[in-house]
Amino acid sequence: MSEILVENKTVVIPGEILAKGMDYLPGENTYREGEQIFSKSVGLTSISGRVIKVTSLSGPYKPKDGDKIICKVFDITLSGWRLKTNTAYNAMLNVKDATRRFVRKDEDLTKIIDVNDYIVAKVIRVTSQKLIDLSMNDPDLFKINGGRIIKINSQKVPRVIGKQGSMVSMIKKFTNCDITVGQNGLIFVRKRDNGNECLAEKAIKLVEKEAHIGGLTERVETFLKSETNQ
């Protein structure tokens, strides 16, 4: 006989049994062993129909094709740049993926992107060995100049963005800042005229801290309103 051993939206830890029997299916962050389904990470359970999945509360970012991430250059090779991605793995940005103009063979690559520079890039390939290839060939990908970079838990990134980007656009509106959220937990904030980067940072940290509690959008809105006297 099959049964579910946990309730919806409860916190579970790795190795905790979520369900017994073959009637249920293991979803994201879970696995089946024998007839039981176990959790793979610390997170909140979410049961929909016969599928049980766990939404991670912590843990590192896992690179995926198509993700927009923010990374830092730490090395320059003959054919491109090596970057730190805020994961256990480094990424590679090839010259042909970095710029559309022609780059001569003997050109000084530091003139394009230097060591310690941050860029917003897209993951175009992740091999099974976790070799990551990046690209900047998109209008919304760029080299970061000025502003500030904030680091948050990468599992909270979806909450910072909100449904259809509602949270991040609200923070943008109240603080008058440009915000680029990297899926790897790095967020780039730069103020426009009369913008308030500090307030944007505070709001993002508030979202990170209270991401698991309901009514988040209203709370962040109240916070932003009270800080900006609106």
Binding site: K72, N86, N116, G146, R148, I149, L186, E197, C198
Partner: protein, 266 residues
């Protein structure tokens, strides 16, 4: 890996910081809690903003060094545990931990803050040695100042253990009212240089953008007992002068918080 150097320099030229502080403002709250460990002879927990540092003092009876047979001694050890920052890894102390321990040690040792002669019990045979352990619980920057504050608070709090007259061993379960013979209260203030600007109490991001820093240890009278320069770039004589002035002023501020804490305790 976060580093906002350009923005930090630009903000500094306007007299601002990433978190809206002034260049010479400490983070708030600054808290000093003492007697937090039962097994230590003296202990303190210091909070500066998000930085939390523990210091514990243990006293042990040792044979004095042969070049100072009538004096006790001091040993400072710092451990940067992985709990405090994702930058630290388990294992033997790295260069940062060694520097933290040595800067704290030098401030106390070179100011002769402890009267080591009074720690001698039997010349050439037995003397009290003060062992200070520093453990950051959260490294959000400025460990030097926090460690200095915590070490001093723990030393002020320290009470010697009784010595068993028959065996001559320390009775670590007993307590006495004898405090450490503290002659001076040395505090260190670290001032960093970013671009051409000087700032105190850096966060981790600011620390990583510093081109140079200077830690100045001073006592109540304003006498400098130790200096430690870090970072790659040099400093001009004028800058060192400015830094010492800032450090003296900020040491006064930190000392007032320390005094307040011990006054409330009494």
């Amino acid at each position: 890996m976060i580093n906002n150097t350009k923005t930090i320099i630009q903000l500094a030229s306007e007299g601002k910081r990433l978190d809206n502080r002034g260049l010479l403002d400490y983070r708030q709250p600054i808290k000093i809690e003492t007697s937090i460990s039962k097994s230590a002879e003296g202990s303190a927990k210091v909070t500066i903003g998000d930085t939390v540092v523990l210091a514990g003092v243990k006293m042990s009876l040792e044979k004095p060094y042969s070049d100072s047979p009538n004096e006790g001694g001091i040993m400072v050890n710092a451990e940067l545990i992985p709990l405090s920052s994702s930058e630290y890894e388990p294992g033997p102390p790295g260069i940062k931990a060694v520097e933290l321990a040595r800067v704290t040690d030098r401030g106390i040792r070179e100011s002769h803050a402890i009267d080591f002669k009074k720690l001698c019990i039997e010349k050439g045979e037995k003397a009290w040695f003060v062992i200070i352990d520093i453990v950051p619980l959260n490294d959000a920057g400025n460990l030097f100042d926090a460690a200095g504050l915590a070490a001093l608070a723990a030393l002020k709090e320290t009470r010697l253990r009784p010595i068993d007259e028959k065996t001559g061993a320390v009775d670590y379960k007993g307590t006495t009212d004898t405090p450490l013979p503290l002659l001076k209260e040395t505090l260190s203030v670290t001032v960093g240089k970013v671009g051409n600007h000087l700032m105190v109490d850096p966060t981790v991001e600011e620390e990583s953008s510093f081109s140079a820093r200077l830690t100045v240890a001073t006592d109540k009278t304003g006498t400098i007992s130790a200096l430690q320069k870090g970072g790659d770039e040099p400093m001009t004589i004028e800058e060192v002068g400015q830094i010492v002035d800032i450090a003296l002023d900020k040491a006064k501020f930190l000392r007032s918080i320390m005094d307040e804490c011990f006054k409330n305790k009494k």
